[in-house]
Symmetry: C2
Subunit: 362 residues, 2 copies
């Protein structure tokens, strides 16, 4: 059966002041509608029902996730006692799912990406599942780049060998870390590189076998956890084992070491929406290039102001006069104002607030 | 006895979004402490006790004024049914006060100016009262200009003739309307001109006699009101008479027509704080020229930002990154962001909201 594993452990600070320790990006309605995680769950409907959707997260977010996605069974929320990167995250999910369904195929998804349209996305997942099941393949999704991004990893594709469900499928030549601008420009020009979307498909057997072969320390920890799945000792075992597991990205720990990696060219629009600037690029603009994102309605007033992103999680009027290309973010206890292109520097405020131990604002 | 008449009828929109129809500037803690009106009342203590402080206002503001200045007797709040400019306002107060105290001397004050220190202010009022009582004089206060302001009226002073309580007192040559910049520069250079502070002192007899002589229509209306002061017919008489009274500023209707006008050179600091920009100039700045005005505490975070005015009526964190010389105003339902020097253009938003009938934001 097809299962989805949503990785929701992030505690990103790039959306401060809207994102907070117990309210990270995936739990926020960053696009103005539902929380990103809820959108991610909805995006799987009807291909993968709630009982086969698993969320891996940390203890601080469990309540938020339950509130945000009440349709998920409690036991489908897998709680990591500490962050151990994506190989452990994926391994834990595989161990639990494989115990429940030894013929499971797993779609692994970040919780906080923007993807559409939904039909195309589901078509690509069906294609990925077929490729994964057909030959113990590791399936990744690559996004055709439209600018020389330096913030994403890249996948160098090799020969195209099929197009299941009309989705182009290539062998993978190599994975590349985030490049510098000159390299990114070469990648773009060559036409051979795709952005690494961080979305994967494999069967639970395939990934567990690969972990056993390439990450034996992780494997031995997972074996101990597997022995307790479904028992009252499960969570305490996870809590005891997890801190000693190796912390490695699945890209490096597994994907770069195995042979049978395939990349599907994503037939959908995709953004990881990594900053306020990126959010501006994703949402609709009026004739002056102004965009408003209000979770509960609200009003943007502008006078001689263009290219403004106005964001509020409550019903607020935001009035901007005589300033172009700025971001205005309003939350119940904090406001951010910055030039759009510098919105990533918001981390400076997060650092300062940490230094001042202002946990009320973090 | 010395009485104070505080003119609190303004419905200024220059402090939107903090100022609203039922919450105009004088009812706001624009300097971060108490409401401007409460500061104005406190500034008279102990020279003029609450029972001799009178506030002239409109019906919409009565509740706000009572809440803001609970020490004022209810009957000292004089309610105008409609605005009829300052001559009617002053006339109404004179009629009521003179009925209660035929030897009254009246200090007439705007409700929403910033003045300090308090001792110097009270010393100047004592001086003004003596001058007013000595020769049926009309006393005004002039502010020594420190830049060629085009937003104030000016008073051309003539000979200095005394300095009661150490306050310089001059005859008045003429009143000047708000000048253009070139004229204002000449005024400044000449050293003969003072800003018209809008603060006056006269005896109730003096002003009522002058009204009888120079504004007979106002006088005849006030006679009818005077006949009902203290009776149950008082307010209904005011409501009936007021709309037909002439609407003229006291400067033009009276001051420019009488001979015995004196101007005292104000020994205090003064600002009418007419805009967010003006507020910035009045408050303390940190080393980066940033100023925060929080009525209930709050926090200003800046990174590469100078000359910022951050204002909030609630406990809010305002974070500004990479923008200089802006104003950020936060209220519970609206936010304003503008370059400091353009903050007066906020009236554009007020006009737009009026056109859209968004009374919730006005």
């Amino acid at each position: 059966m097809l299962h989805a594993v949503i990785m929701a452990g992030g505690s990103g600070t790039r959306f401060w002041p809207e994102s907070r320790t117990a309210r990270p990006k995936q739990l926020l309605p960053i696009m103005g509608g539902k929380a990103m995680l809820a959108e991610t769950v909805t995006r799987l409907d009807p291909l993968i029902p709630a009982e086969r959707i698993w969320v891996v997260t940390n203890a601080a977010q469990v309540d938020g996730i339950r509130a945000c996605c009440p349709e998920l069974p409690d036991s489908n929320i897998l709680v990591e006692p500490c962050a151990r990167n994506t190989s452990a995250c994926v391994g834990l999910a595989a161990a639990v799912i494989h115990t429940a369904d030894e013929n499971a195929t797993m779609v692994v998804l970040p919780a906080d990406h923007v993807i559409g349209p939904r039909d195309e996305f589901q078509r690509s997942l069906q294609a990925g599942a077929e490729v994964a099941e057909a030959g113990a393949n590791f399936v990744t999704y690559g996004i055709v780049p439209d600018y020389p991004a330096t913030g994403y990893g890249y996948i160098q594709r090799a020969d195209k060998h099929s197009d299941p469900h009309g989705v182009e499928c290539f062998n993978v030549d190599s994975f590349k870390e985030k490049p510098d601008l000159a390299t990114a420009e070469k990648f773009l020009e060559s036409g051979e590189y795709l952005w690494n979307s961080g979305i994967f498909v494999w069967t639970s057997s395939t990934i567990l076998n690969a972990i056993a072969e390439h990450m034996p320390d992780l494997d031995s920890g997972l074996q101990k956890i597997t022995a307790t799945v479904g028992s009252s000792a499960y969570q305490s075992t996870v809590d005891a084992i997890y801190p000693s597991l190796p912390a490695e990205p699945v890209d490096i720990g597994i994907m770069e070491k195995v042979d049978s990696v395939q990349v599907l060219s994503a037939p959908y629009n995709w953004s990881d929406v990594g900053s306020w600037k990126a959010l501006y690029d994703e949402v609709e603009h009026d004739n002056d290039g102004n965009a408003l994102v209000f979770a509960e309605g609200g009003k943007l007033l502008t006078h001689d102001a263009k290219g403004v992103l106005a964001y509020s999680s409550s019903k607020q009027c935001i009035a901007v006069l005589g300033l172009d290309d700025i971001v205005v973010v309003h939350t119940k206890d904090a406001i951010l104002i910055a030039p759009r292109d510098r919105s990533e520097e918001v981390k400076k405020f997060v650092e300062q607030l940490k230094a001042e131990e202002r946990t009320d604002l973090l």
